[in-house]
Symmetry: C2
Subunit: 266 residues, 2 copies
């Protein structure tokens, strides 16, 4: 089994309750990456809902940082309709909920096949002309083992932050795939929307940007291959900023969108 | 007391439980408007959290339509920190939750006053050169008494749908205020983000677009006066679309942003 499936695995332990083991490889700074946690929760919700395997919308509110090790995901189905179901799920460690979520699940394969997207696919130079995450300095990789889970290729036009020259535009773009070649699917998209460094890097604010809330919409099964990920912020104010994320698949389809509200790095 | 405050009022009935009376004036089509319901829920959360009066982020999942009449809002505080608290709240009618929400509250007045917004304020002709909602046909106003709660002035560049000539761009813009002159505040912004007709009107799809999920971020106390509201969609696909909303206050500040995922009108 590949790393992502192995490390997001859950095991039913009671009615609506699932055990997970958060792997240390997903740590970034002081805690476990929020996108990985979302994928673990998303996998538990999937396991609780026969016939509705795919996240369509999920909103996560981050209550406290999570640590590597055992975790429990509790799920409660609030409404099960013919095509979609709505579920509340919490990720708990010790006696404390670390993340609380609401989600709507269904079967993306059952949706009609109309696509009238007017958003434009971001332009990125080919992966071999972009800046790989393996070029990150050793001290960054030490506090962010998360980086080693991915093969990321940053758009050189938005990577000035890596050499102390952020563009100031509030945009990051990268090619993205899991480092072991595991192909993208709807659960991996939940990880993908919160995997890049915070967009505040491009505004000259390095450092951790704690997420208050993140909502992701998964709109289609991604085609195999590289994903294009674009993060942008337009409303940095009052000590907070929104981070909008778009994920485009190798067939040129906008397969996921997310927005998070985060605190500015200190 | 003004209409909005009177009709979003809640009364504590038990620990974390509040009674509301949903007023018939907020009906649109087959149910009560989602933005009004969000304001009622938002008011109950405010009442449950002394010292943290303002919604900062709220995510609502719509389970079933609501009807005018008595409703109960139940609130559960999940975490109360120094500056923000996270709360789960449900709006219940009969024995059935109609909307379930997660929210982060705090005091917008306590936030630092930095504003580095790079989003551009939408251009709208002056209100007197825009198309008022009072020009809506009698049959529309009969099924949408909601319309009478507002003074809206639609940007003529995006109002072709009203005369059967939608622009096809997926954009709606309007000046917005409550019809009785009640000034905007953070709770009224929760209403404002879901008050305009669905953006699908501009794509030649009239009709009701049921919301699956809506998340709003309130970023500042709005200045008194007209609000500018812009709705846009860029990813109409698979029978669903996202609707992004921006609300700008009379001082030119982007005070609220929301995104919802909705089903295409049939």
């Amino acid at each position: 089994m590949n790393e992502f499936d192995e490390q997001t695995a859950v095991h039913a332990s009671a009615d609506g309750e699932f055990k997970a083991d958060l792997a240390p490889g997903w740590v970034v700074g002081g805690g476990v990456n929020g996108g990985y946690l979302l994928a673990v929760i998303g996998n538990a919700i999937r396991a609780s809902l026969p016939g509705k395997p795919d996240p369509i919308a999920i909103s996560a509110y981050y209550l406290a940082t999570s640590e590597p090790g055992p975790a429990t995901v509790t799920t409660r189905t609030l409404r099960e309709g013919r095509t979609v179901a709505t579920v509340a799920a919490d990720l708990v460690q010790g006696d404390r909920a670390r993340i609380t979520t609401l989600a709507t699940y269904g079967d993306l394969g059952d949706l009609p096949d109309d696509v009238r997207t007017s958003a434009e696919e971001p332009f990125l130079p080919p992966p071999e002309d972009c800046v790989p995450n393996t070029m990150a300095p050793e001290e960054v990789r030490r506090i962010a083992p998360l980086m080693d889970r991915f093969d990321m290729r940053f758009d050189p036009a938005h990577v000035g932050w890596a050499v102390g020259e952020p563009s100031g535009n509030g945009v990051l773009q990268a090619w993205f795939r899991l480092h072991d070649g595991r192909e993208p699917d709807p659960l991996a998209l939940l990880l993908t929307v919160d995997a890049l460094p915070p967009v505040t890097f491009d505004l000259g604010m390095p450092g951790w940007a704690p997420t208050l809330e993140l909502t992701a919409h998964v709109r289609a099964h991604p085609a195999p291959g590289w994903l294009k990920v674009r993060h942008a912020t337009r409303n940095m104010a009052g000590g907070m900023f929104e981070e909008d994320c778009e994920v485009w698949d190798s067939a040129g389809r906008l397969v996921a969108q997310s927005r998070q509200l985060a605190r500015q790095p200190r």
